[in-house]
């Protein structure tokens, strides 16, 4: 059974929490006592029907305000797949939360209200999904019951969205007409929309092909931890432990070590359960090399004929997450890229991106909270990277405020800076 992570985005009134509640409820994952607690709460809050949204709004403040503030992770499974939902808020002031939840997602569900169609928020969510390179996008057109389950309306919205999405890098786009409140096309096929020939949402989530979303072409193994037992039994054992970030590694492969450039062969790929012949993402394993060479945390193992880019000058799209200082030129920050930690200086802020119109504000050379822009950085150590569009693991990094230790930025590498 595979694992699928998906992000849900939508505004308070679009019924996102109701949709999630419906998925959990109808797939029988919501346990009786949680339902009891929600029914009690619903009664207290004076709502007429059991507010499925209350199932997902955990924290006190949220229960009182009725909106979701943070990223919340929900879990359910069907016999076909296990699902992790990164439930994120829709408001623009929580863009950083959506970016966070979307970073590991295989799929994004963008929720629209059929009455309103595409609004600024939908455009923003679509853009963020594209920026974060989420491979699969599902546009769930909700509240179909309030537009009389109209096929015409569905097609109208679909056409408008497709038009907008042409400007984005979206390869897999699916549209599903639903009513989260009444359950149409969420788990069960809707009897009210016989004109819809596609899958209900859950079926789509179960069947969408995600195995090829990983980069299986470019072998990348960032060394995370060096294992040297130095016991009698494992006296000379030196294992390089880490999580495969790309491609496939096999015993006997010729490899190159970075930054040294030395070449050697893989002597063994090991796990606590014994050696294995091949390792691929997202497996964690331990690599032993034929030669005794100098390799430590932060270094990288790749193939001689397929190496990452190496540079201290990075060109990246950054989402700024600090509610303190803005990102400006000459700012110094900590940077973490895979297992490598270094310092970085902002050499230039090229432009801020208007996430609603997708236009570039070339006159703006700073980024405030929740803003996204193109930035040039110079790092104190070379990074071994791939462009984010090629590999989400080797192409991403975070920025750290050295005074507060907070994570203040999320970066997606475009390439080497000029």
């Amino acid at each position: 059974m595979e694992l699928l992570r998906f992000a849900t985005a939508g505004s308070v009134d679009d019924g996102k929490s109701t949709l999630i509640g419906r998925l959990l409820y109808d797939s029988k994952s919501i346990f009786e006592d949680q339902m009891q607690a929600v029914e009690l709460s619903s009664q207290k809050m004076g709502t007429e029907y059991t507010n499925l949204a209350l199932l997902t709004d955990g924290l006190r403040a949220e229960r009182e305000q009725g909106i979701t503030i943070d990223v919340a992770y929900r879990y359910f499974a069907t016999p076909k797949r296990k699902f992790i939902i990164a439930d994120t808020p829709g408001h623009v002031q929580y863009t950083r939360n959506m970016v966070t939840g979307a970073s590991t997602a295989n799929l994004a569900i963008i929720l629209l209200d059929a009455r309103n169609g595409i609004v600024e928020q939908s455009r923003r969510h679509a853009f963020l999904s594209s920026l974060l390179r989420i491979p699969h996008i599902v546009v769930a057109i909700n509240k179909m019951d309030l537009v009389d389950y109209s096929e015409e309306r569905f097609e109208e919205i679909k056409a408008e969205f497709r038009d907008f999405a042409m400007k984005l890098d979206v390869t897999d786009l699916t549209f599903i007409p639903v009513s989260a409140l009444h359950g149409d096309n969420v788990v069960d096929r809707s009897e009210n929309m016989p004109w819809y020939a596609g899958s209900p949402l859950l079926h789509h989530l179960e069947e969408v092909h995600i195995a090829s979303d990983r980069n299986l072409r470019d072998p990348r193994f960032p060394v995370q931890y060096v294992l040297r037992p130095q016991t009698d039994e494992f006296h000379d054992y030196r294992g390089y432990a880490g999580q495969v970030a790309g491609g496939v590694f096999r015993t006997g492969d010729n490899v190159v070590l970075l930054p040294s450039g030395f070449e050697t062969k893989i002597a063994a790929i090991e796990t606590a359960d014994g050696p294995i012949d091949e390792a691929f993402p997202p497996m964690s394993c331990t690599i032993r090399l034929e030669d005794n060479l100098d390799l430590s945390r932060g270094d990288m193992i790749a193939r001689p004929n397929n190496q990452p880019e190496v540079s201290q000058d990075i060109d990246a799209m950054i989402c700024w997450m600090s509610d303190g200082a803005k990102l400006v030129s000459r700012m110094k920050l900590g940077i973490k890229h895979m297992s490598r930690t270094a310092r970085a200086m902002v050499t230039d802020v090229d432009y801020r991106l208007d996430v609603n119109s997708l236009s570039r504000d070339a006159d703006v050379h700073e980024l405030g909270l929740n803003e996204i822009g193109r930035v040039q950085l110079r790092t104190t150590q070379p990074l071994f990277f791939d462009r984010y569009r090629r590999n989400r693991t080797t192409g991403s990094f975070i920025l750290i405020d050295e005074a507060t230790n907070a994570t203040v930025g999320a970066g997606m590498i475009l390439g080497e800076a000029d």
Binding site: E2, E32, Y73, S103, R214, E233, G242, F280, T393, N405
Partner: protein, 307 residues
């Protein structure tokens, strides 16, 4: 690593979860000076210990294992703890709530509903300070309870061990920012994305030994507040509460005086899994009186510095 490769390069959900947890534990070991694994002998900490062994094989665990002992555990669980930690070749540190009481750091609750559950927080915080641990692995999962759904893998606490839901660091991709100032410490939850069912499926797959009380056995129990509590030296049976013998098992392991049993005939891991797949009450709903106190109970306790 159990790679269930069918057509090639496929990883089961358990394989993916295991890989993620191992990655997290290695990251903490690499970036923190003095981590510790919080261990209760319960199923989540047993899985965590198993994952830790996998993460660092063929080395020994590069950190000790700590148990905050209320002194009111099921005795079977203590014996099990000692044996399992010794077998793992790990160093066991026991932080005693009794000692905290004796030192006057906390006061014992009184009355028939008294437990030492809330006292654990002080003992835990004192032990962390005493040993200067800067990262503590906990077996918390996000599916367990509403307040945990928002918890990060790396959970930052202030000097008082308090958790501020408004002040967590974003966790993107698999990049964890564990930078702390001297004296600060964090909790790390490597099995955050595991559900109760995942845990049992993994226990079955890996053949991990479990304390017997997780499996159906006969015990003298009585009903209180909608739960089945065991008759033991740590609890006072009140008037109107009638103990009876029943075939029960425990879904969760808190203290003997506040953990509820469920009536069940599941005496093997497979049977437990079958029962879980059909069950409708969450693990904590079935078992933990400490959660019933108020709707936002866990959130309140986390703010106080509980796990």
């Amino acid at each position: 690593m159990n790679v269930k490769s069918v057509t090639g390069f496929e990883l089961s959900h358990l394989g993916a979860l295991e890989a993620e947890s191992v990655h997290i534990m290695r990251e903490v070991a690499a970036e923190f000076e003095n981590p510790v694994l919080l261990f209760s002998g319960g199923k989540d900490s047993l899985v965590m210990l198993h994952l830790a062994k996998k993460a660092f094989w063929p080395c020994k665990l590069p950190f000790p294992v700590m148990h905050v002992d209320t002194g009111q555990n099921f005795p079977e669980v203590i014996e099990f703890r000692d044996r399992v930690v010794a077998e793992a070749g790990a160093r066991l540190v026991v932080a005693s709530v009794q000692e905290s009481i004796d030192k006057g750091r906390v006061a014992e609750e009184t009355g028939p509903r008294a437990t030492r559950n809330r006292l654990q927080t002080t003992t835990l915080l004192d032990a962390i300070e005493e040993h200067a641990f800067d990262a503590a692995f906990g077996g918390g999962r996000r599916d367990e309870e509403k307040a945990r759904a928002k918890e990060r893998v790396y959970s930052f606490r202030d000097d008082f061990g308090q958790w501020d839901p408004k002040n967590q660091r974003p966790e993107l991709w698999s990049l964890y920012n564990g930078r702390v100032r001297k004296g600060e410490n964090i909790r790390v939850f490597p099995i955050s994305n595991w559900t109760e069912l995942d845990i049992w499926q993994y226990i079955l797959q890996e053949d991990i030994e479990m304390p017997a009380i997780y499996f159906a056995h006969e015990r003298e129990v009585f009903e209180r507040d909608g739960m089945l509590l065991a008759v033991s030296e740590f609890i006072t049976v009140m008037d109107g509460e009638e103990p009876f013998r029943s075939l029960v098992r425990y879904r969760t392991l808190g203290d003997a005086n506040c953990t509820g049993a469920v009536e069940s005939g599941a005496d093997t891991v497979q049977k437990i899994i079958d029962e879980l797949a059909g069950t409708r009450i969450t693990e904590r709903g079935a078992g933990r009186a400490d959660d019933l106190v108020s709707e936002a109970a866990m959130e309140d306790r986390k703010k106080e510095g509980y796990f």
